[in-house]
């Protein structure tokens, strides 16, 4: 065998790939499911926290700042390990999927809160005052005047953050979530050949290359005006 043949046989073994393709496809669907769930709950949680913070009630603000700082400082993998391996000791048991979803959602919520809050702060005071002076209540001014401005500003950083955290779904492999990476590693050890890993890598590229390119587009489209 030439070197090239050996390389192809090792990493692009068609026979092995065909055998493990169905598993990778299953993992692919689960990764997408997990990613969508994380993005929905994470962004909703972050928006909710930012809105609560806008009310400027001291103790609540402190709590939110503490939550945000904590989740921005801890590695996501540490949080997943805590949820999955430590919580059962106090009687809280959850599946690997739930642990990964909950951890990544919390991390995304923390980052999203900071971004939404920065967006709200970036809207000039005059907008608030004008909105209130036309008779809108605090909530109405927030919902109809400030948020629409703020959300536009927050789209590029939110997109980037959501992409980065969504890639963390691969961490689910550490707690046995049968997503792409788990399926690929299992396939590799059964086949004694790394072609399932190649297949898994391709599956990630299929999901994330379009997302990264979209992120690049959004960044140039909605860029902060300096």
């Amino acid at each position: 065998m030439t070197d090239l043949q050996r390389f192809v046989f090792t990493f692009f073994n068609v026979e092995v790939m065909a055998r493990y393709l169905p598993f990778i496809v299953q993992g692919f669907l689960l990764t997408i499911e997990l990613a969508i769930a994380v993005i929905l709950t994470g962004l909703a949680g972050g928006l909710l926290l930012a809105l609560v913070r806008a009310a400027q009630v001291r103790p609540l603000t402190w709590l939110i700042v503490f939550f945000v700082d904590l989740l921005r400082a801890l590695p996501p993998l540490v949080i997943i390990v805590l949820f999955y391996f430590a919580l059962p000791y106090v009687g809280v048991r959850m599946s690997g999927f739930t642990a990964t979803w909950a951890s990544l959602s919390l991390v995304l919520a923390a980052f999203a809160e900071e971004i939404f809050w920065a967006g709200i702060l970036a809207v000039p005071r005059g907008q608030w005052e004008a909105a209130r002076s036309t008779g809108l209540t605090f909530t109405q001014a927030l919902a109809f005047v400030v948020l629409p401005h703020a959300v536009r500003l927050t789209i590029p950083p939110l997109t980037n953050r959501a992409i980065a955290i969504t890639k963390g779904t691969a961490l689910g492999s550490v707690v046995g979530v049968p997503e792409i990476l788990t399926q690929a590693i299992t396939g590799q050890s059964f086949a004694g050949n790394p072609s399932p890993l190649t297949l898994g890598a391709l599956a990630y590229l299929i999901i994330f290359v379009p997302v990264v390119v979209l992120g690049r587009f959004i960044e140039s489209r909605f860029a902060w005006k300096r």
Binding site: R6, A73, P75, P76, V78, L121, V174, L181, N193, F208
Partner: protein
């Protein structure tokens, strides 16, 4: 409440696990001292190559950056650690981690440096060039210092992310902080070591997170 204290904040177990965890923390430090400068230099290289306006350089560069930004870092690490040995390239865990981080973080740092260089108006380069500086001198003495200031929050943010990512090395059995904590948990049947490790990560990274928040807010205020 008692179960919580006994399982999560068990002082006795924490004290017993502390030496192992401190060793893990030292390994985390060493890892950071290797992968952060490596990614930084790699990123600078990527960004400087990006200033060359030649198609045969620009396009492969975009492909390189987007390719490695699209890969979850853990997937890259697993591929290098478990895949390459099949080619007879048996990398030790530390080298595999360093290589995976170099590929991943140099793309991120590269994008940040690129954004920084683009944030400096072309008039700056032109003015610098017209005073007789070479292209490289203009870049080094005029553009890069301003660029660095403009993207300082992003640089700090990315560095914090890289430090947090070093916890992935536990997956390939490199004895850093998270790996040490999980070993200690397995030995003691008590998750207090993981809580202690989380506390160590928090103490290590929290000042950076605070600093970043302040910088971001200051930038925001100055731009409004």
């Amino acid at each position: 409440m008692d179960a919580l204290a006994r399982n999560f904040f068990n002082v006795e177990i924490m004290r017993a696990a502390a030496p192992l965890l401190v060793k893990g923390l030292a390994m985390t430090f060493v890892l950071c001292l290797v992968v952060v400068p490596l990614g930084f230099v790699g990123g600078l290289g990527v960004a400087l190559l990006g200033t060359v306006r030649r198609r045969f350089i620009a396009w492969p560069l975009i492909v390189y950056v987007d390719f490695f930004r699209a890969f979850p870092p853990l997937v890259l690490l697993i591929f290098i650690f478990f895949g390459l040995p099949f080619l007879g390239l048996d990398l030790p865990a530390f080298a595999a981690v360093a290589l995976a981080f170099l590929l991943n973080t140099s793309s991120y740092y590269g994008e940040i440096f690129r954004a920084g260089i683009e944030s400096v108006g072309s008039g700056q380069t032109e003015a610098a060039r017209s005073t007789g500086l070479t292209r490289l001198q203009a870049l080094a003495y005029v553009v890069v210092p301003q660029a660095a200031r403009n993207v300082l929050p992003d640089l700090i943010g990315n560095t914090l992310e890289v430090i947090k990512l070093t916890s992935l090395a536990s997956v390939v059995a490199l004895p850093e902080l998270l790996y040490a904590a999980r070993s200690a948990q397995a030995i003691t049947y008590n998750p207090s070591p993981i809580v202690l490790a989380a506390a160590m990560y928090f103490v290590l990274l929290w000042p950076g997170v605070r600093l970043l928040s302040r910088l971001e807010h200051r930038m925001l205020v100055s731009h409004r």
